[in-house]
């Protein structure tokens, strides 16, 4: 305790206002420039799994160089609090990054977004309280953007992480007047931000502004359902980057602007890809009400046309197959079936069967999540096929095994213009010789609609848990 008091005393005794926008030494500028180039290279190397780990190394070197250069800036004179912060961060971050199961990666990334955005927001707040009304209008506007994006991404990401961890309800939470309320809070935040710029000396405007931004983040993400999380997490990724970029405008630091802009555009592209894969718009994801599912029609479609099989029969079908595709959905991860599927892959490959995985862009809880889960189950990445690459191949497949996916293989999206999911890109599994769907029941997916695939002539239903079913198929196949 006395140690802390003395540190505070030292800090208090040594405080002195540094002129804003102090010029940086040339060597720091050169190191920042090198770091910016390493960051760009880092993303370029991520384009292929072959070079991706070099990309991480480039990013790490750029980051380490930039941090060390910053510690040598003449205006940085006190290291005690920085050292404490570094220590806490390293102790906290290592278990977070290394112990988290791969199924929980989306919520961990949402938490990292929250931390990054909080840092940006707090630096904006600190700048405001350090320099207050002496700041120019353009800097105050930048602080406004930094704080708005930072605080809303902070609470929004915490809510998203809560939903992904299923601490918060994952069902869409809609209530009357929801959009009016959300937009009112956003408008109030923007007005409060404008007041910060116009009357920065007023002690009340900034705290009110912060409170409104925090509240807006909660109100924006809370109503959105679990099925839309891939888009939401990509969008929050973009916001977190933009808040870091805005911080670069506040501190007049181009490295921050570049680092933030890279994430800003990356998150934006991913959010666009997710929206396209669900055939929805941003506005629809953020403010759309989920239409009530048209129930009751399922009997007309399924009635008398469902053919059920067991593990023994599936094994017999696979025994005669030469080309097999496996289509995993999020249900596979819920059932923790990825390692069982990895074993089935090994077994089929050892019997000279060609096995490919067909992966829909929204197959997991975030963009690319299913690929990570399957890579963890030791499936080589050259067998993980994206939708556009595998769709022309289905007609040559003897057997397709669908495990834990539903809406993304619903042929109505392609064939029935009146379907609620009409136009959504799907995996054309119905073109294959035989389709085996592993599913607990005929219950609908996120879209809440029946799937005519299940009643198709070439489709067989295997009603079971996703993991047990695969293990039983392996056991039967080994007998043959």
């Amino acid at each position: 305790m006395s140690c802390f008091l003395s540190i505070t005393g030292v800090v208090a005794a040594a405080v002195r206002l540094v002129p804003h926008n102090a010029t940086m030494p040339a060597y720091v500028i050169m190191i920042y420039l090198a770091a910016a180039m390493l960051f760009a290279l880092s993303l370029k190397w991520l384009s292929s799994p072959k070079t991706a780990r070099w990309g991480v190394l480039a990013g790490e070197i750029g980051m380490a160089a930039a941090i060390i250069a910053t510690l040598f800036l003449p205006e940085v004179r006190h290291y005690d609090w920085i050292a404490i912060a570094f220590l806490i961060a390293i102790i906290a971050a290592i278990p977070m990054a290394l112990l988290i199961p791969m199924t929980a990666v989306p919520q961990q990334i949402a938490l990292f977004h929250a931390f990054g955005a909080l840092a940006a927001a707090l630096v904006g707040t600190a700048e405001y309280y350090a320099h207050g009304s002496s700041l120019g209008t353009s800097t105050l506007i930048a602080i406004g953007f930094e704080s708005l994006l930072g605080y809303l991404t902070f609470t929004g990401s915490l809510v998203a992480a809560g939903k992904l961890q299923e601490i918060l309800p994952t069902q869409p939470m809609n209530y009357p007047g929801q959009n009016v309320l959300s937009i009112s809070i956003l408008s109030a935040s923007v007005i409060a931000g404008a007041m910060v710029v116009i009357i920065p000396a007023n002690p009340l405007v900034f705290p009110i502004f912060i409170a409104l931004c925090l509240l807006f983040g909660v109100m924006l993400i809370l109503p959105i359902g679990g099925g839309d999380m891939p888009t939401v997490i990509a969008l929050l990724n973009s916001y977190a980057g933009l808040s870091a970029s805005a911080m670069g405008f506040v501190l007049n630091n181009k490295l921050l602007i570049i680092g933030g802009a890279l994430e800003g555009s990356s998150g934006f592209i991913l959010a666009m890809i997710m929206c396209k894969a669900m055939n929805r718009s941003f506005i629809n994801v953020l403010f759309g009400q989920v239409q009530a599912a048209k129930a009751g029609k399922s009997d007309d479609i399924y009635g008398g046309n469902i053919k059920s099989v067991n593990a023994e029969e599936v094994a017999a079908i696979l025994d005669g197959a030469r080309r097999v595709a496996i289509v995993p959905g999020y249900g596979l991860a819920v059932a923790q079936a990825q390692h069982a599927v990895g074993q089935l892959f090994e077994l089929l490959e050892s019997r000279s069967v060609d096995v490919q995985f067909g992966i829909h862009p929204v197959a997991g809880r975030m963009p690319g999540h299913m690929n990570v889960l399957l890579a963890e189950a030791n499936i080589p990445y050259d067998h993980l096929m994206e939708m556009d690459r595998i769709n022309p191949e289905f007609e040559n497949m003897d057997v397709v095994i669908v495990n834990g996916a539903n809406d993304v293989v619903n042929p109505d999206a392609r064939d029935n213009p009146n379907s609620p999911i009409a136009g959504m890109p799907i995996l054309n599994v119905d073109k294959a010789g035989t389709v085996i769907v592993i599913k607990r029941s005929l219950s609908p997916g996120f879209a809440g609609i029946p799937n005519p695939l299940f009643a198709a002539k070439n489709c067989l239903m295997y009603f079971a848990d996703g993991k047990k079913a695969v293990l039983d198929i392996i056991a039967e196949l080994e007998k043959l």
């Binding site: 991520l46 750029g62 290394l98 630096v123 600190a126 997490i233 990509a234 670069g248 890579a375």
Partner: protein
């Protein structure tokens, strides 16, 4: 418009464009590591947090906010890079046996 704001806007626009062009080429297989890596890179905001905290401005509040900001962004840096590498390590080609 001040010269610094002008050059900052140019840098932002070009960096956003560069990000768009580079990220567009990233294989969809790697979209999760991509998000994790860009997030770690944008935690470069730790640099700003260090500058604000280390300057030790005239109020305790600034130091407190700065210290929390350094902690939060440093968690983002360390955790982001470690988790990205952990995921990428699992992406292997077919075993040669």
């Amino acid at each position: 418009m001040s010269p610094s704001l002008e050059s900052n806007l140019f840098v932002f626009a070009l960096a956003a464009f560069l990000g768009y062009e580079v990220v567009r080429r990233v294989s969809p297989q790697l979209h999760t590591p991509l998000m994790s890596l860009t997030n770690a890179i944008s935690a470069i905001s730790v640099v700003g947090a260090i500058a604000v905290t280390g300057a030790g401005h005239n109020t305790t509040m600034v130091v407190v906010l700065g210290t929390i900001a350094v902690t939060a962004s440093m968690i983002n840096v360390v955790g982001g890079f470690l988790m990205t590498d952990r995921m990428l390590k699992m992406f292997k080609k077919r075993k040669s046996n």
